[in-house]
């Protein structure tokens, strides 16, 4: 029972802390939504964040040892090629993921 209370307080603390980080700019910069500087950052930050997220999600790939991240790079290549060709997000994502799962589970480049 005591253990459950401990867990519940941990969940409460984490809920508040997570929400605080997400809400902070909205509270601190309340009413600054139309500011040119905010429009500027609203336009150019998403492409920057997307670049970082792609690299972040690849950060555990070992490019210095065999297979040098072959699975990941080929799958990313498939995503890009299919997307530029068909312009269908779902198709690009699922074809690459299907390839990646097969390559990983059947040890294509293990």
């Amino acid at each position: 029972m005591n253990d459950n209370i401990y867990l519940l307080s941990i969940i409460a603390v984490m809920t508040v802390a997570t929400f605080a980080t997400r809400a902070f700019p909205f509270v601190a910069l309340k009413g600054k939504g139309g500011h040119p500087l905010m429009d500027y950052i609203g336009r150019y930050m998403p492409p920057a964040v997307m670049t970082i997220l792609v690299l972040y999600s690849m950060k555990n790939v070992d490019i210095f040892n065999a297979p040098f991240g072959a699975n990941e790079f080929i799958a990313l290549g498939i995503t890009t090629a299919v997307h530029l060709w068909k312009e269908n997000s779902l198709l690009s994502i699922f074809s690459a993921t299907a390839f990646y799962m097969a390559a990983l589970q059947y040890g294509l480049f293990a």
Partner: protein, 236 residues
């Protein structure tokens, strides 16, 4: 009557758009949530606590971190500080959404509450059907992602280690989603500077601060973007 009908019809269309846009997140969140659930049930707590964490905390990395902290019986203050540090990148997300999020009241509260990396990515890159209220669209996207995450956490905790299906590699859907959204951003912006800045920051952060890569890269890119505003504007 006609107005009511068409209004309802358009809402259905927004839901459909949001569902399609969010599908890749489903393929990422369900297996990731399950991975969390499996680890969590090892701690010996009831499965419904995993559901609860998915509902209230709704932060992937932080929940994985929590498993370790719970196992070590960490103090509340330590958990609070670790969560704040780990999630501090989210502060930068809001910064670039000030103009975009103009819903009010509970809806805005929920949009902010559910602002994960993936929700942020979808919101900044995709659009509601023409003429539809974008705030509603954002709301559906957030709620769908939230739902996938809660389902994943619950399934993982319920099924525990007995999961038969080999989902290894399925979370590549999130990497591919980020890549697709990166291409979409490129088509929209057609200005290489923010991409180059972010690439440099990401590689540098990965090299020097591998454990804090996301935060360092995002904070640094934001600072440089502000600092180089005249240059970025000129390349438009």
């Amino acid at each position: 009557m006609k107005l009511l009908w068409s209004n309802k019809n358009m809402n259905t269309q927004t839901t459909k758009y949001a569902f399609e846009a969010s599908l890749p997140v489903m393929f990422g969140y369900v297996p990731l949530g399950m991975a969390f659930g499996v680890l969590f049930q090892d701690l010996g707590y009831g499965w419904y606590f995993a559901t609860m964490m998915g509902i209230f905390v709704f932060a992937g990395a932080a929940q994985f971190m929590a498993v370790g902290l719970l196992a070590a019986h960490a103090g509340l203050l330590e958990v609070a500080v670790s969560t704040l540090v780990l999630n501090s990148r989210h502060m930068f997300f809001g910064l670039s959404l000030l103009t975009r999020y103009h819903a009010v009241g509970l809806k805005k509260f929920y949009l902010i509450f559910g602002l994960t990396d993936e929700t942020y990515s979808l919101i900044t890159a995709s659009h509601p059907p023409p003429g539809e209220d974008e705030q509603n669209y954002y709301f559906y996207l957030t709620a769908l992602n939230h739902f996938y995450w809660v389902v994943g956490c619950t399934l993982g905790a319920l099924l525990g280690a007995s999961v038969e299906f080999d989902s290894r590699g399925m979370d590549f859907a999130l990497t591919a989603l980020f890549m697709v959204l990166l291409i979409e951003q490129w088509k929209k912006i057609k200005n290489p500077t923010p991409f180059i800045i972010a690439f440099g920051c990401a590689v540098g952060a990965m090299w020097f601060f591998p454990d804090k890569m996301l935060l360092v890269a995002i904070a640094l890119s934001t600072a440089i973007l502000f600092g180089l505003k005249p240059v970025v504007d000129k390349n438009k």
